[in-house]
Amino acid sequence: MFKGIKKILVGGEKEGEILELFKEHIEKLSEASETLRIAIESDDASLNYEICELERTGDIIRREIALRLYEGAFLPGIRGSFYRLAELIDECLDMVEDTSVYFSLIPGINPEIRDLCVRVAEINCKMVDYLYEAFSSLETDADLSDKTIRIRAKEQEVDGLKHQINKKMAKVPVNSFWEGINLTNFVNSLVGISDRIEDAADMIQILNVSLR
């Protein structure tokens, strides 16, 4: 009976479903980032299809989150932040997909920058793991700052690698104008994923501070 009264007065079912959907959303991002890392490491552009599928699933999850929020989950004051978080995770997935598409358009990565690119892809995977931890901490920890600081530190590491890649890029020979463009787009997109993950982490921090 108490459960019935609690459900009528405060609910909680929709909120639980949304939290599960967010976790699933970040898991899809994690899978996509990991697949991209494997694709770069093993020079296997065929994995692009798998990443596109994960991005499509991410889109479905984002729409589902929006629907549940519209149905009245959480206090109205924080629904906007939750939806923005879903959008940011989706932007991360979009960026992973873009990177994968650019990767499939280039004839392999030059050894000059290959290791650096793999390193960036590894850091991206780590950052997604941290993002999952930060989101889960909304339910368990009062202070999320250490989790979001770790993400920020990793993003700075990617910035340093980006600088190194850009320096070495000048020495990478390209066969045509479009090959050069695709390589630049691939590198810019790969190093941009960490920025998007950082944005998502910032939104988790906004959610955190808006409830205190």
């Binding site: 609910g11 909120e15 939290l19 959480f74 206090l75 909304l138 339910e139 409830l211």
Partner: protein, 261 residues
């Protein structure tokens, strides 16, 4: 209104001024027009001030005895209750900072939902015990309605008013003074609710509107004095002074006019 409205009804309907049918009709008519007009203009006006002042104005015009002691007590409570709400909201906010803020955010959100429901219930209870009792006190004590009939009719009309006309004032209060998050929203609402409840127990007709304004200002100033929008507060303060003056003058003039026919 049924449980705790009797004290307020007695103060307004029996102790403040001796009533006759003309005084009750004129004062309630003038008050309702003033309240509807102010709501339409998005100015939060106190129904208590309008009702009490127009009762006094009309009573004076008809030469009825006005209990100035009771009137002074009412005016004092108008001054003290928003201040009480101001300080209570600050205390509640500080308490939340040392308790709720220590919890994981989503656990705090669940508790906040309960707390907001509770504070909303306190305000709704006060609306019946104080606002409705003030408006219907003269009607009940003049013998036009029994307390139960007044409670049923009052509740129905209260619901209609909230449904049809409250949106504009909700917007003005919710966004006009300072931006409210669920956290400060609860501190403000509960602070105001407690202040009104205290004065209701003492039988004083105090304004929930001004108590909420006092508590929102308290929370806003606690965050930073800059977050409380002073032009809006000045308008409210002006309305706090103007409302009883206009209601009293209008009720007095209309009563004199009717007496001359």
């Amino acid at each position: 209104m049924v449980l705790q409205g009797q004290n307020v009804m007695r103060t307004v309907g029996k102790e403040l001024v001796s009533l006759n049918v003309e005084i009750v009709s004129i004062s309630l008519l003038i008050s309702s027009v003033a309240i509807v007009f102010s709501n339409w203009r998005r100015v939060p006006v106190s129904s208590h001030q309008a009702i009490v002042a127009s009762l006094v104005g009309s009573g004076l015009a008809y030469g009825m005895s006005v209990d100035y002691g009771t009137l002074m007590k009412i005016v004092e409570s108008w001054l003290i209750s928003p201040l009480g709400a101001f300080f209570l909201s600050i205390v509640i906010y500080r308490l939340m900072e040392v308790t709720l803020s220590k919890l994981p955010p989503l656990k705090a959100e669940v508790i906040l939902r309960y707390l907001l429901l509770m504070s909303g219930s306190v305000i709704a209870y006060n609306t019946g015990a104080n606002e409705l009792a003030t408006a219907l006190g003269p009607v009940v004590y003049f013998g036009l309605l029994t307390p139960l009939q007044a409670a049923i009719i009052g509740t129905a009309l209260l619901w209609t008013g909230a449904y049809l006309l409250s949106g504009r004032v909700v917007e003005a209060i919710g966004k006009g003074i300072t931006s409210l998050d669920p956290y400060s929203g609860f501190a403000a609402q509960f602070g105001a609710g407690l202040s009104v409840l205290l004065f209701t127990t003492l039988g004083m007709p105090v304004s929930t509107t001004y108590c909420i304004i006092g508590s929102i200002t308290g929370v806003g100033m606690l965050k930073s004095t800059k977050t409380a929008k002073s032009p809006f507060l000045k308008n409210i303060l002006l309305s706090w002074i103007i409302t009883p003056v206009i209601a009293l003058t209008l009720a007095f003039s209309v009563s004199i006019l009717l007496l001359s026919f």
